[in-house]
Amino acid sequence: MKRKKLIALFAVLTMTAGLITGCGTSGNTEESAASVDEGAAGEETAVDEGAAEETASEAEPAGEAEAVTIWYYWETEGHQVALDQVIQEYNSSQSNYEVSAKYVPFADFKKQLSIGASADELPDIAILDSPDHASYVEMGIFEDITGKFDVGNYYEGTVNSCTVDDKLYGVPFGVNCLALYYNEDMLSAAGCEVPTTWDELMTTAKALTTDSVTGLALCSVQNEEGTFNFVPWLWSTGATSYDINNENGIRALSFIQSLINEGVMSKECINWTQGDVMNQFIAGNVAMMENGPWQIPTMQSEAPDLNWKVTLIPKDSEYSSVLGGENYAVISGGNVEGALDFLTYATSEEQVKFMMDKFGYISADKTIAANQFAADSPYQPFVEELNYAMPRGPLAEWPSVSDAISLAFNQVITGTATPEDAAAEAQATIDGIVK
């Protein structure tokens, strides 16, 4: 009996040992697999586009080219292809660095960067949403690149978004802003003029609303994207992002609420991203929408017969829009030299022009932007709108402020709070953040 127990013990021990060593051996293979992975990272992203594979695998063992990785969040295929084309050209233009770009979905981007910061696993360049820039600077993951780039000609708002304490922590990639798209056929069928004020907008939207068409749509999801679409209305009254609980702020909230109450805007907007809003517009379900210029390439290819035009967002007391777009940031501790070298290339006039056209963006460089579009181009209204566009923040705590703003707007849209209460609540939150 005793012997049996010993055998049993032994058996279990062997089993355990087997499991542990099992883990150990697999650990080793994982290790080698992972190091292969790291080396091939550039190659793998490039597989989709083809060409870079050979250069990467040739360059790697010789140790000639250092790897430079980029993270970006554009899901639009056109954007990805354009960026990759610039990268390919850069890679073949020199032999010191091998750049590769990785797509990280937008919903994931913040999380991936913040976990990456804790784990010291970051790319060399991040192309990120401009209002988030200040938060990451505060996190200390971006390199100070003051004096390395001439941003004197850039739109002030874009430069501000990557400047903290007079130090430059990034380079604007490109800018965009929001404006009002309208379906020309629907407008003329209803005999409406293009609206320029909130009152006109309300009348027009009412006239355009039918059983199957709602007058206006704007992305109202409760996150940064929603805030982006709300602030033009807020700012148009003279209210600021940090000062909402006053006559102006309440007027903006009331106006959005009245759009819902009058039935000229669908409550579903709180589930629609800007892409969804655009899809509703080209499907003919929506007559007017607030949206950005980056939708134009898609709209032109998917709905070539649709008659639409762009105009300034109707105003309350002053025209207003919001500055959007991405910034390049160089990660400190990464391959800074390589990152800077690539950015110098990518921000040259030729490359900027190429990418902006493909992206449907406006160059952050005022001189390039001035001649970027023909007078009758659908992009031209956006260039005009840019004059009225202001940035969000820059503020390290912007994500929290933004959360309060989009909550207030969602409250009035869903009817869960009066404009007065929503404004008061938002103000209380913001006062707790911005002291």
Binding site: L9, S135, L407
Partner: protein, 299 residues
């Protein structure tokens, strides 16, 4: 004395059986728990995540939660959601398990197919229910309209109360097979002889159910309910994909709120505190479960 000694050795073997799994979980989950507890007593945000000092502020994060209305909503949402889901999925699952335990021709194949909702990734389920509950094109509104139960489309996912209802429906749908299968399997552990002797004693069906089925199923029922509770209570994917906590934070759960604080607003310590509250509640439930399931045993 000798007997006790033998007992001791005998039990030692038991530990060795458990040890590999325990070690695995300790490594991958034990460390995160400890890290999270420490984090919740600090003041870590974007500013001092990577550099700078992380000072201990003890219970400040927790006391701040009491004044946080979204936290309170998340807490009550999580409780409401969990209890409602459990009640419905358990009842429906139990009835179906009993029903399919009958030996009719289609019982086995159809019970097999009914597992389908469980094997579908939650992400896809969330997508399907979003479609079903859509305001204008949603088929649920259409059915309700045709039955003249409503005359205006309900805006399910954009109205606070009904968005919660839609989430519960989706979760119950996923949970029914889970309950059904575990109870079905539990039913098979009841020796058939017991039923046979019951039928000889001419006990009616209801009596058999309460006198034989239910008592013998007790361990299964406990496991099903407790596991159901834990999985429902920490629900994340479904809410994240279907409503992201909206509209106006009305469907935020502790898990989604903790995620939002940590990864969208960079308030790491506060997010950890929310997660710890969730953990604490589940721990109480867990201790209760262990008490109940091992209470009768001599130790």
């Amino acid at each position: 004395m000798k007997k006790i000694k033998r007992m001791f050795r005998y039990e030692n073997v038991g530990i060795l059986f458990v040890f590999p799994a325990f070690l695995y979980m300790l490594v991958f989950v034990g460390y995160p728990i400890i890290r999270n507890i420490i984090l919740s007593f600090q003041d870590v945000s974007a500013g001092n995540l990577v550099r700078g000092t992380k000072s201990f502020i003890m219970f400040d994060n927790y006391s701040a939660l009491f004044h946080d209305s979204i936290f309170r909503t998340s807490l009550s949402n999580t409780l409401r959601y969990t209890i409602l889901c459990l009640v419905f999925q358990f009842m429906i699952g139990f009835i179906l398990a009993l029903f399919f335990n009958q030996r009719f021709a289609l019982a086995k194949p159809i019970r097999g197919i009914l597992l389908a909702p469980w094997m579908i990734p939650v992400t896809v389920t969330a997508l399907m229910f979003k479609l079903l509950f859509a305001t204008d094109i949603g088929v649920i509104n259409y059915i309700l309209r045709s039955l003249h139960l409503i005359n205006k489309n309900i805006e399910w996912l954009t109205t606070p109360g009904t968005a919660m209802f839609a989430l519960i429906c989706a979760n119950v749908w996923i949970g029914i097979p889970f309950n059904m299968i575990l109870i079905s399997t539990g039913l098979t552990t009841i020796p058939k002889e017991l039923y046979e002797s019951a039928s000889i004693d001419e006990a009616n069906k209801v009596q058999t159910f309460f006198n034989i089925t239910l008592p013998l199923l007790k361990p299964t029922i406990e496991s099903v309910l407790i596991l159901g509770f834990i999985y429902t209570f920490k629900v994340y994917d479904l809410v994240y994909v279907m409503t992201s906590g909206g509209p106006v934070n009305s469907t935020h759960m502790l898990s989604t709120y903790s995620y939002k604080l940590s990864f969208e607003m960079f308030k790491y310590s506060k997010g950890s505190a929310v997660a710890n509250v969730l953990l604490l509640i589940l721990l109480v439930v867990g201790i209760f479960y262990i008490k109940v399931t091992t209470g009768g045993e001599e130790e």
